[in-house]
Amino acid sequence: MQNGNDPDDSAACRDGLRDLEACIPALRRYARLLLKSQQDADDLVHDSLVLALGRLHTLQEESRMRPWLFAIIHNLFVSRMRRRQRQGETVPLELIDEEKMSITAVQEEGLRQRDVLRELEKLPEDQRLVIVLVSVEELSYAEVGQVLGIPIGTVMSRLSRGRERLRQAMNGEERPTLRRVK
């Protein structure tokens, strides 16, 4: 999987760039969870990539590129939020734009997807991010802990609370199709 064995530095760098590029769509998606506008999200991704490119050589062979990049983007986001909070600004969090959803929403499946996103949006941010990093980005629990800078026990409790809350919210407006899912 890793290209660390490559003796040629420039080839390793090229592979690093390719791996990096492969992660960009997921980074943009994560940034959209953190920030309201696509422009702000892409700015965050841009600055994270610039940071990552400067540190590419420090990436250990054994560590995976994805969690490393998620940690960079998350840390950058947190430090900016802190700065903004000091300045008294608030950043509204909005998961998706309705227009986009109306395109993807197809019948029951679409309704369920829209429900789950709407309910996800209502969760506290700490639970929401854990759920997404685990379920959607497929990071291991340990990696999520590293990305968010929290112990694995905290990852598990946030995951558990978030999922249970989401389940109850979805149950409240359960559709017949949902019960059939096993």
């Binding site: 760039l17 990096l20 590029e21 960009i24 769509p25 997921a26 943009r28 998606r29 959209r32 422009q39 892409d42 700015d43 991704v45 841009h46 990539l49 610039v50 490119l53 400067g54 998706i96 986009k100 993807t104 499946e109 369920r112 997807q113 829209r114 429900d115 789950v116 996103l117 996800l120 759920i131 997404v132 685990v134 379920s135 959607v136 497929e138 291991s140 629990y141 598990m156 995951l159 558990s160 999922r163 249970e164 989401l166 389940r167 979805m170 149950n171 949902l178 899912v181 096993k182």
Partner: protein
């Protein structure tokens, strides 16, 4: 035996949902779910949540990566930034050693001494020019309609109406424009080209903290040459890869178009 008897934990239920459960614990967990209806219902609901979230957020992955986020471009930018920073440092040192107040960098720092004014503008413009103007990518579409659309788009991104620069009178046609990220916010880069393939960059960045207009000063680093000024809260730079004939006259013409007063 112990392994089987150990009670299933909440964490293990989630690990099962996420495919992160140790395979040795799987049989015990499946037996547990057969006996515990409420746990089974929760696991089923969590699995459904997981699948629904993945499906709902899958579309994002199919979106094309904007050129601004292309890692190869960013790498080139990094390298250009490093190179130009060195060249600028050398230029400052030279102006200093020569004891000359005529160096544009020194002049750019005066009268308020801040390094954020024209020197910063010039450095950004030089980097953007070095990276993008020399990049002979696929030919950009041109034409007046497209030029309008690009100026409008950049104006809205910069939250500042941009006055269209027209250089057809001196043989330069509009080739394209792009939005560039700088340390001081978004900037517009507009590219013009003459029949001989000489490319000019007009770089514009809002500088809201700069109330005072400046003179047009000569800027340059390496083989890129140009002129920069600040006017009405916008910083401008007109750049070309040296030697380009009449660059000063072209800069004056651009300045006259964007600031007729």
């Amino acid at each position: 035996m112990n392994e089987i008897e150990r009670a299933i934990t909440e964490d293990e239920l989630h690990a099962f949902v996420d495919g992160q459960l140790d395979s040795a614990r799987r049989p015990a967990l499946e037996r547990h779910l057969e006996q515990d209806q409420s746990a089974a219902k929760r696991v089923a609901a969590y699995k459904m949540q997981r699948a629904a979230l993945r499906a709902a957020l899958a579309d994002h992955l199919a979106e094309p990566i904007p050129p601004l986020l292309d890692p190869r471009r960013l790498m080139k930018l990094r390298e250009a930034r490093r190179r130009i920073a060195w060249q600028m440092a050398a230029a400052i040192l030279f102006a200093f050693l020569a004891g000359s107040g005529a160096g544009w960098l020194v002049r750019g720092r005066l009268p308020d001494g801040s390094p954020a004014g024209i020197p910063a503008l010039a450095q950004e413009a030089l980097i953007i020019h070095a990276v993008y103007a020399t990049d002979r990518g696929p030919p950009a579409e041109s034409g007046a309609a497209r030029q309008n659309a690009i100026y409008q788009w950049l104006s809205s991104e910069l939250k500042h109406p941009l006055i269209m620069v027209n250089l057809t009178a001196i043989g330069y046609r509009f080739v394209g424009g792009r939005l560039a990220a700088t340390d001081h916010g978004p900037a517009a880069m507009l590219l013009y080209e003459d029949a001989g393939g000489t490319r000019l960059t007009v770089f514009v960045r809002p500088m809201p903290d700069r109330k005072r207009d400046t003179r047009t000063v000569h800027v340059g680093a390496g083989d890129v040459d140009g002129y920069a000024w600040i006017c009405d809260g916008l910083g401008y730079a007109v750049l070309a890869t040296a030697p380009t004939k009449d660059l000063h006259d072209i800069a004056v013409m651009v300045r006259h178009q964007v600031d007729p007063t």
